[in-house]
């Protein structure tokens, strides 16, 4: 079965997101796979918000550009979306909305099903409940089990039983409303799933941070990274993590560094503009050789850009940020499964090599809703803390070693005293400006890049090994690329999750493929530039999308036809 998309639209403040999440969860519990994509402007009230739930009984990774069912919550919303409806799609809206639409618009080629949503809603508690009535109508249309929807509603209003009851009555009346259209795709589908979760990339990140044993998370609010902070804050009492909201992003990274210096796993999170403020702290982390994980959830830049939209335009920046040469790791998950794996890996690499590890993602991954098996969250890696818990009088914090990694003591350990020194320093950690010491310490630190490189895997290949066309992607473009691979056996995909250092043998690996096509959500093809820098290979075919929207289902295949 193909994707079937349901899109709820309207002004901010109309409960679009909560309705969308309720719908998505109900569909997941009904045994279906969903992918939810939301758009919203940088406002608190008004504007045009959308929440689209794509459904399928098979794996689903990307949103359709158009909706099969559109649920506009007022006339303006319908006007804005009238060209985004599939050929055989339908619109479910209030009777008054249809009346207004018929009066003001000449476009008559869309099928509108008017329902007295507001009238029914008012009977059960108020106009705001019209969303819930619409969900009832939708469930009838799709022949789904109403009890599952009711279950989700009861949980959403736990503690407010009265409101839950009202919503359930509203849903029921919507469900019982007589319609003349039926969608057959869901006929006889009696699924129930207890094993799948509906989770966003940011929520998965918060889970991964917790599973990694991070004890201090500090972040300043910035869209689209803030949800990580919210989830960790809400769970503090259960997890025992210390979550700190500082005065600015500069304090965020320095406080996390203080925690790391004292011996606990620490992390900070932000978006591009906040990361810009963290740059000197990043340079400091590299010089002090302390472990630190930094989350950069990208949005379109430069400057304030489009705060509530998505793109992949900070890769080149993150790879090169911070003055001076120093080692770092850059890891880019592209799905919640990859998030859970990559984040744990980031913490382990940071600890082992005493480096900053930057986990880079974006709004599309962070705020879209994915269907994922609960099992993913039981794959917890062993943690390597790599601390020197005993020291003698000869202890040297920045001892030159074969691997470049020096044994690290933490405050409280006798004889382990040293200076975490932002000045260039000798092995004993004292400030030192001599030429030999400078050369030695620089080489020591940079040796760690080569050691780390040995552990970096080659990117995974998805699809037929000998496909004609090979897409090359990173981060959230994964979903749409994988979708293209599933639709067309002439296409396969190389997907990078580890971007720095790049693995050994990458040049040989890439030359196995027939025709490489770079797929990125940025203007300058930043992964392409990195590959060329590291291997000499220039990927001439590029599909670059930088309009702040994700790749839609089918879009990559369409664009390939024109190449």
């Amino acid at each position: 079965m193909n994707n079937f998309s349901i899109k709820i639209v309207g002004p901010a403040g109309f409960g679009i997101k909560s309705t969308g999440v309720t719908l998505a969860k109900s569909l997941v519990r009904s045994g279906l796979n969903v992918f939810a994509y939301t758009e919203y402007p940088s406002l608190i009230r008004g504007g045009h918000n959308t929440y689209q739930v794509d459904v399928s009984d098979s794996e689903i990774k990307a949103s359709k550009e158009k909706a099969d069912v559109l649920i506009p919550l007022n006339l303006e919303a319908l006007e804005k979306e009238k060209n985004n409806i599939e050929k055989d799609g339908i619109v479910i809206c209030d009777e008054t909305t249809k009346q207004q639409y018929d009066k003001t618009t000449k476009q008559q080629n869309i099928k509108i099903i008017p329902v007295p949503l507001i009238e029914i809603a008012k009977k059960h508690g108020g106009e705001l409940m019209k969303n819930t009535v619409a969900l009832g109508v939708l469930f009838k249309l799709l022949n789904l089990d109403l009890e599952i929807l009711n279950g989700v509603i009861k949980e959403a209003f736990a503690g407010k039983e009265g409101v839950a009851e009202q919503n359930i009555k509203a849903v029921e009346e919507g469900f019982n409303f007589k319609l003349d259209k039926n969608f057959n795709e869901f006929n006889g589908f009696n699924g129930f799933n207890e094993n799948n979760l509906f989770i966003t990339g940011n929520q998965a990140t918060a889970m991964a941070v917790t599973a990694s044993g991070c004890q201090l998370y500090s972040a300043y609010p910035m869209t689209p990274a803030t949800d990580i902070l919210h989830v960790l804050e809400a769970n503090q009492k259960k997890t025992g993590m210390v979550v700190h909201q500082p005065e600015d992003e500069i304090a965020a990274i320095h406080t996390a560094l203080g925690g790391s210096f004292a011996g606990i796993r620490s992390a900070c999170g932000t978006s591009g503009g906040g990361f810009a403020l963290m740059n000197e702290g990043l340079s400091l982390t590299g010089m002090l050789e302390l472990p630190l994980v930094i989350f950069e959830v990208m949005r379109p830049g430069p400057a304030t850009g489009n705060p509530t939209w998505s793109d992949q335009g900070d890769l080149s920046y993150v790879l090169n940020a911070g003055h001076g040469d120093f080692p770092r790791a850059v890891i880019a998950p592209g799905s919640p499964e990859q998030v859970f794996d990559c984040v744990q890996h980031a913490f382990n690499l940071a600890d082992k090599y005493q480096i900053p590890a930057i986990v880079i993602s974006d709004k599309h991954l962070g705020e879209s809703g994915f269907t994922i098996s609960k099992e993913v969250f039981s794959e917890i890696d062993e943690k390597n803390h790599d601390l020197q818990l005993k020291a003698n009088k000869d202890y040297k914090r920045y001892l030159n070693t074969q691997t470049g990694i020096s044994p690290r003591t933490i405050p409280g350990i006798e004889n382990g005293e040293h200076i975490a020194n932002s000045d260039e320093h000798n092995e004993e950690s004292f400030s030192d400006e001599s030429s030999e010491v400078r050369k030695m310490q620089m080489e020591k630190r940079m040796k760690k890049v080569e050691e780390l490189r040995k552990e970096i895997p080659l990117p995974k290949v998805y699809g037929e090994k000998n496909a004609e066309i090979t897409l090359v992607s990173w981060g959230s473009a994964f979903g749409a690329c994988l979708d293209a691979v599933n639709l067309d056996s002439n296409i396969n995909l190389i997907h990078f999750t580890h971007l720095w250092p790049m693995p050994k043998g990458l040049d040989k690996f890439l030359s196995q493929f027939n025709k490489l096509v770079l797929v990125e959500n940025n203007y300058s093809g930043q992964l392409g530039k990195l590959i060329r820098q590291e291997t000499g290979i220039e990927i001439k075919n590029k599909i670059l999308k930088y309009d702040s929207r994700p790749f839609w289902k089918g879009e990559i295949i369409n664009k390939l036809k024109t190449k």
């Binding site: 210390v242 996390a256 011996g263 609960k374 005293e417 020194n421």
Partner: protein, 278 residues
């Protein structure tokens, strides 16, 4: 314990006669008298002449960036409440670049101790005017005299919510040691502004000048009276030296993690956390 127990093998690089010698000795003396072993002390330094003290006190030192001592100190104390955490920075560093951090760390009431080496000059960068330079101060960046009003660090600290605000002198070892001991013993954020001479660049605010423009707070001063403290802090012609204000308020770290030492501890992850995604 003796203050020489806190010496490292590194010789200080300050100019002969620098006020930092006095501050350095007093910090070591205070730690010795309080009998805090060096491996339980974290001192976070900013950048400047005072920051170069990082090489000369045996402890777990963190030589941070310019203006960035306080947030690091907050993180270290959150991780391990059993550490004595001190931040040392110059006036340019803490009251200039680090101004925002002072403002907020004070209102958090984080249990750390800030000592500012205040010589009213950016000395390590060769003598520019700083946020505490007097009006009319002539320097490389103010050749016709400073036209910007100096900030009042004591008043600023008080209004930001510091629960221990004091002023001392780099050249009065007895007073400085006692003040630092009181600051370290205080539970909550303590701020000690130490007026010091810069023999190389500041020819105005010398030791004789400070002696003339300061006075010891009277014995009867009520440390717990905020209005009194503000009044004293606002005296800029002849500055009061001593503990201006001291009170008790809930401490940041305690409220976040109780009396748990996070180091060596764990964070709980389980199915329970996934329930909201079902």
């Amino acid at each position: 314990m003796n203050q020489v127990d806190y010496n490292t093998s590194y010789k200080p690089t300050w100019c002969p006669g620098c006020g930092d010698f006095g501050i350095w000795t007093a910090i070591k003396q205070a730690l010795a008298e309080l009998e805090i072993p060096s491996h339980k002390v974290v001192i976070v330094y900013g950048i400047g002449c005072a920051g170069n003290m990082a090489n000369t006190i045996k402890c777990y030192a963190f030589h941070s960036l310019h203006g960035r001592a306080l947030p690091v100190a907050v993180g270290a104390k959150l991780a391990n409440k059993d550490l004595t955490v001190i931040a040392v920075a110059g006036d340019g560093d803490q009251y200039g670049e680090g101004g925002n951090h002072l403002l907020h760390t004070a209102r958090y009431n984080a249990d750390i101790n800030l000592i500012v080496a205040n010589n009213q000059s950016f000395s390590l960068t060769t003598g520019q005017a700083s946020p505490t330079s007097d009006l009319g101060y002539v320097s490389k960046t103010t050749p016709w005299g400073e036209i910007k009003q100096p900030i009042n660090p004591m008043a600023l600290s008080l209004s930001a919510g510091s629960t221990f605000v004091a002023r001392s002198l780099a050249f009065d070892p007895k007073h400085l040691v006692e003040t630092i001991k009181s600051a370290i013993s205080h539970k909550g954020f303590s701020h000690v502004d130490v007026l010091q001479q810069c023999v190389t660049f500041n020819k105005v605010n010398t030791i004789p000048w400070y002696k003339e423009h300061t006075y010891q707070l009277e014995a009867g001063h009520d440390k717990q009276n905020f209005e009194q403290a503000m009044k004293k802090a606002s005296e800029e012609e002849k500055m009061p030296v001593g503990i201006l204000y001291q009170t008790d308020k809930p401490v940041y770290g305690e409220q976040l993690r109780g009396d748990k030492v996070l180091v060596g501890g764990e964070v709980k992850f389980g199915e329970e956390l996934l329930k909201e995604f079902e």
